[in-house]
Symmetry: C2
């Protein structure tokens, strides 16, 4: 009898949003044992972390970990600094909702945990189409991170480097939602709004709400989001 194949572990960044829920469902479908990682980085609201936990439980993970990092202290973004207003209309260039070096910080901490878990795949739901204003969502950035990670780690030095997996990078919101629906993702558990009300309902007007609702509309899938009146 052949030895049972070693279970492949994947580390999946889960934010509580629609994109990362889709990525987690994909990693799970690919047969990975999934470890979900979320960050408490001083986001404006905590519904994201609650949503991340619901998503992780609903799809099924070996562990969901929330790491604290003090990004909020340093400010510099409308998402972590309450003195900077969240825009309701799209802007030119890099938006004020850009959090300095956020994906680099998130991927670095994921890399640390992946090395301890002996995982070789890190999944992240970055998307270059809808969020092209963020420099750290572009394929060339991801390739550069992967090259750096290969030189940074024990596994990389030993010839078995970590891959940064970005299955959504070239998909539109419509395509992501259609794919996630096929994978069985319950999008009612996710939250995308930058400025939900006190009960966690979405504002419906921020950049992120607009992208999300038009994605559901274009995919011809009912939008399960709870909006403010």
């Amino acid at each position: 009898m052949s030895r049972q194949a070693k279970i492949k572990r994947a580390l999946v960044l889960v934010s509580g949003g629609l994109d990362s829920a889709t990525v987690l469902a994909f990693a799970k479908e690919q047969g990975y044992q999934c470890y979900a990682l979320s960050f408490d980085y001083g986001q404006r609201h905590r519904y994201e972390l609650r949503a991340a936990h619901k998503v992780a439980c609903s799809i099924g993970v070996a562990e969901h970990r929330v790491m604290n990092i003090g990004l909020g202290d340093i400010g510099g973004s409308a998402l972590t600094d309450t003195k900077i207003p969240v825009p309701v209309t799209p802007t030119e260039g890099i938006p004020v909702t850009y959090v300095p070096a956020r994906n680099t910080v998130f991927l670095s901490l994921a890399l640390a945990w992946a090395e301890v878990l002996d995982a070789r795949d890190i999944f992240i739901g970055v998307n270059a189409v809808d969020y092209s204003g963020y420099p750290d969502c572009r394929p060339e950035y991801i390739a550069a991170f992967e090259a750096m990670a290969t030189l940074a780690t024990r596994s990389g030095v030993e010839g078995d480097p970590v891959s940064i997996r970005t299955p959504l990078i070239n998909m539109s919101k419509k395509e992501i939602i259609s794919w996630g629906a096929e994978l069985g993702v319950d999008y009612s558990l996710t939250i995308s709004c930058y400025a939900p009300d006190a009960t966690g309902r979405a504002c419906g007007v921020c950049d992120s709400c607009q992208l999300r609702s038009s994605g559901f509309r274009q995919a011809c899938i009912p939008d399960p989001t709870q909006y403010q009146e």
Copy 2:
């Protein structure tokens, strides 16, 4: 009258050890307004953070910030996991004191703060000579991080990227100590030991103590370290 030249800001990673104290003194001597960054990452002992603060105050910084990160939770290193003993003799390959992806995590958080501060220079006291077993202390790793950072950030996208400055990378411990002495560093404030006693005195036998004491000996400079009896 010409406008006064803009003050250049530098972000300097300060660990409480001998190397980063030397780097901070060098950045200061170069005319930078220095922002010191240390991490509370579940190190075995807290003397490092106290030493980092003394060093920052002694050399003079605009701000010293200590960021909390949950690296201790994920284990994987003798420096953060009390179940893994600290070795007293040099080992082949990557030592167990290697903390997974540590420099990547530290540099990523430094990059985030640098972007908010509008600083273009990040100084780190990595050294490829004495610690060649750590993959993330090599020049090729630093170059790859810099390339990634250029693609990750607003300043990089706008053509004014961050530099990762590693003035010690090719120096021996003897050379570092000689240079720091010229720069006026008070090495009695620094701590290098992996396993100090309850009063903060160095063990004198771990890898790091051995490197340090032989550095002072070779530089013909009195070793100010307080050792256990």
